[in-house]
Every structure is written in C-alpha cells, then in structure tokens.
C-alpha cells in the first residue's frame, strides 16, 4: 500500500534529511517510527502525505506517486489519509464537533450526512459527551482524541500520527495508544512516530528506526530486533 523506493530528501538550508530509504508498509499494518530528534522522522511522514516531495526516489501510496501527483491528486489523497500531530492542531474557536465537521465540510461532504459521521467519529474516540466543548475546556488527552476523530471521520486507509503522545502524561498516553490500536484493529494502517521506547518494547508491532536520515533498523527484517532498541 505504501512504498518508499530509494528516497532521498535534501533541504536547501539544512541539508540531507533522508537518504536511501526503501520500504513497504502493508494494508492494515501498525508501524512505529522512532529515532533521535533530527533523525528524519517528520520528513519521513511529510513525504507520506506529500507535504514534501523526495529530491530523488519515489514515494507511492496506493496508486498515487510522488513523481507524478498533481496538486489536485494530493488533495484527493489526503482525504484518504488521517493525520494527527503532537500539538493537536485544533481550531480554538470551534467546538469538538465543529472541529471534526470541518474536515468534512472543506471537502464538500453533503451537509445532511455530516452530523451522523461526526457523532460516530466522536463516539469512536469516546468523546461524544463532550461534543460541544471548546478545545480549551478539554484536557490534552481529550484534545488529541478530537484530533483523532477528525482524522478518522473520512474513513482513512492510513492514519499518520506524528508524536501523538508527546504532550501527554502516562495515563493519557496509554489511552491514546489503545485508541490507535483499536483503530488499527478495525483495518486502518497506522504509522506512529514516537520517542517512547517503553511503548515500542511493550507492543509487538513493526518498528522502523531512523538515524541521521538513514533507515538503520526495520523489525520486519529482524523480527526480534525491537528488543534491542
């Protein structure tokens, strides 16, 4: 479903961010992406939702290739990808349900179906009771749930989570991770960038490690390797 082929990414000011990355992620897979700060994790994810294009090589997600995708292809692709960030990226002046509905409105979803979809997504993340709360009235964990509901509301084929628990305490981290697991169990592939090695060690999912822009470890190649991280 996702294929990186000899991907090299270089920024004009900061230099090489990724080099020679090749891998495949299957449909419905759960993948941890780890590595020290500056290793290239965010660049790796940005290439996946086409925020950036490779300097060399190719990123392919479904039938869409980084080599040929137009702006309109990228917009359509993102409707099939859910993206979650460490800083939630919610609209502060809108309620939880308005934040989720926003993702449907801006892609032209018929108004009649929006409330039901929003309600289902909020129920899925366990926040239906707080649908009318503003982000500032919610805890960090709850805000991240709203962000996940927004990412889920379009039934994505893959959920990209860039340090989704980075701002959360242990309890909230566990809650969010369990939520991501249940989303994955229902068939959505999940790619989660994290520094939390404890989380990685305790969960037997495929793990990718980046260091200085290179893919230095892929547990798919050495299944027992995650223990060594």
């Amino acid at each position: 479903m996702i294929r990186y082929t000899s991907v090299h990414k270089e920024y004009p000011r900061t230099g090489v961010a990724l080099t020679g990355v090749s891998l495949t992620v299957l449909k419905g897979e759960f993948v941890f992406l780890t590595g020290p700060s500056g290793a290239g994790k965010s660049t790796f994810l940005k290439l996946l939702y086409f925020e950036e294009r490779p300097t060399r090589g190719e990123v392919k997600i479904g039938p869409v290739s980084s080599a040929t995708a137009s702006k309109s292809d990228v917009a359509k692709l993102r409707r099939r990808i859910g993206i979650v960030f460490q800083d939630f990226r919610l609209l502060e002046d809108r309620t939880a349900e308005q934040n989720v509905a926003f993702a449907l409105e801006v892609i032209g979803t018929p108004r009649a179906v929006i409330p039901a979809k929003v309600n289902r997504a909020l129920q899925q993340v366990g926040l239906a009771a707080k649908a009318t709360a503003l982000p500032r009235e919610l805890s960090g964990g709850e805000q991240q749930r709203v962000a996940i509901a927004r990412a889920l509301v379009n039934d994505p084929m893959v959920l990209i989570a860039d340090e989704p628990t980075g701002n959360l305490d242990d309890r909230a981290t566990r809650g969010i991770f369990e939520l991501l697991r249940s989303i994955n169990a229902s068939g959505t592939a999940v790619l989660m960038a994290t520094h939390n090695l404890d989380l990685i060690r305790k969960n037997p999912f495929r793990t990718l490690e980046l260091n200085r822009g290179q893919l230095v470890f892929d547990s798919a190649d050495s299944p027992a390797g995650a223990e060594d991280l």
Binding site: Y49, K71, S72, A75, K76, L77, R78, R79, R80, I83, R89, L91, D93, F102, A103, E105, V106, I107, G108, R111, R150, N154
Partner: protein
C-alpha cells in the same frame, strides 16, 4: 459555495476590527478616487459647455450680396463638420455690438461692421485641426475677406482638456494601484491570521481553489462595501460643495454603479494577488 460564503462572512465576525479597517482603507482609497472622478466629471461638463461656444466667423467682403451669401451658406452646410451656418448682416452685427458692449455704444455711432457668416461645428469636430481646416476652406470663397476662430483659444482649450484627461488617467491608475495594495495587505493579514485553519484545510484534503474561494469572496465583499461607503462619502462631499461653494453635478447612476463594481473588482484583484502569494507561505 455555501461554506465559502459562510467562511467569508465569519471572517468579518471573527476579526471585526481588522475587517472594519480593511473596508475603511478601501473606502478612503475609493473616496479619493471618487473625489477626483467628481472633479473630472465637472471639468468635462464645463469644458463641453465652453467647447459648444467654439465658432468660426467668415467676414464677407464689402458689397457681397445676400444671394451670394445664401448660396455660400448652402455650400458651407454641406461640409461634414458643420452643424449650423448663419448669415449676419452688417446691421445685425452693429446692433449686436451695441447690445453686448453697451458702454462703448457711442463708438459704434455711424460705424460699419462687415457682414459675416457664423459657423458652429458639430461635436467631435471642434479640435484645433478640424477648426483650422474648416477655416482654410472658407478662405477659398472669393468674397470671404477674413476668417476668425480664435485659433490660440481653441488650442489652449484642447491643451487643458488633454492635460485633464492624462491627469485623470494617471491618478485613476495610481489610486487603483493603491487600492489593490491596501486590499492585498488586509487580505494578507487575514490569511496570516487564519494560517492555522488553512494548514488544517490542506491536511484534510481541501483543494487550493476551495481554500482560496472564501478569501476571494471576502475581498469582493470588502471591495463592494468600501465602494458603497466611498460612494456615500463622495455624494455627501458633492452635496456639501453644492450647498456651500458652487453647484457641482454628481455621477450618473450607471457611473455610480460602475464605481462600486470598480471597488468589487479591486477587492477581488487585491485578494487574488495576495491570497495566491500568501497561501504558499502557510
């Protein structure tokens, strides 16, 4: 489209101060433009009135019969530039001189003024070149002694009109450019204020066209509002000048509508230029 309209309207509610500032600056730019337009309209009217008085006078040689003059008038009326040609006898000329220059009445006692043919030209044929050409043709009549049309005066009149037209165009373009820059700057502020929202729209798959639309509508609405405010302010200015200083004519309704549409186009242009550039940055 409905969402774009809602977002454009929400932009006014979310940032009322910024929106009011935008509309005010657009209105001020267009008001300046409107005031200048008012000057241009009134100057044009005044010039048209003066222009209507441009006439060519062919003085006839002593002894020219009325029949010869009538035949000449027939020929002159056949000139494509000529609107009217009137025979003025020597007596009529004298009577008119006495009437118009009453204080010099005694000077004309026993005097003789030459008979003449007074020619008025059609609109569009009152420029110095055409007036001069008509005068030259009139001189070819054997019994025409002299032709006068105030050559210098006609040329000056046209020079003033040309300068006024160029100034109107230059200032119009300058004010138009200022309005576009102001609108562009206010839209830029709005785009930056909504950078987070735009980034989220992009992440969830909104197309650039969709993201742009509310800003374009916002620019359009600000342009129309600014245009209406400017129109109102210009009308008040015209009314005050008419009441306090001298009568000025206001824009015809279609020109007023065109002015507001001009605001709309400026708003749209300003936001289109700005939003395209700013969207790349967020």
């Amino acid at each position: 489209m409905r969402l774009a309209v809602r977002e454009a309207l929400l932009a006014f509610r979310r940032a009322p101060l910024l929106s009011a500032l935008s509309v005010t600056t657009i209105a001020v730019s267009l008001f300046a433009f409107g005031l200048f337009g008012l000057v241009a309209v009134n100057l044009r009217d005044a010039l048209r009135q003066v222009e209507e008085r441009v006439e060519v006078r062919a003085f006839l040689a002593e002894g020219t019969t009325a029949d010869a003059a009538a035949a000449a008038i027939g020929d002159i009326l056949a000139f494509p530039e000529v609107a009217t040609a009137t025979y003025v006898t020597s007596e009529q000329a004298l009577a008119r001189a006495r009437r118009e220059l009453g204080e010099f009445e005694d000077v004309f006692d026993g005097g003789v003024l030459p008979a003449s043919i007074e020619i008025r030209l059609k609109e569009g044929a009152r420029d110095p070149g055409t007036v001069g050409a008509v005068a030259r043709r009139l001189r070819n009549f054997a019994f025409v002694d002299d032709v006068r049309y105030g050559a210098e005066w006609v040329e000056k009149l046209y020079r003033v009109r040309t300068i006024a037209s160029i100034a109107a165009l230059a200032l119009g373009v300058a004010f138009g450019a200022v309005a576009i820059i102001v609108i562009g700057a206010t839209i830029r502020m709005t785009v930056l204020a909504r950078a987070r929202e735009i980034a989220i729209m992009r992440l969830v798959g909104a197309t650039d066209g969709f993201i742009r639309l509310p800003f374009l509508l916002e620019g359009l609405a600000k342009g129309v509002l600014g245009g209406l405010v400017a129109l109102g302010a210009t009308w008040i200015a015209a009314t005050v000048i008419s009441a306090q200083i001298f009568a000025v004519s206001f824009f015809e309704p279609r020109v007023a509508i065109l002015g507001v549409l001009c605001g709309a186009v400026l708003g749209l242009l300003g936001s289109a230029v700005s939003v395209g550039r700013q969207l790349k940055k967020v």
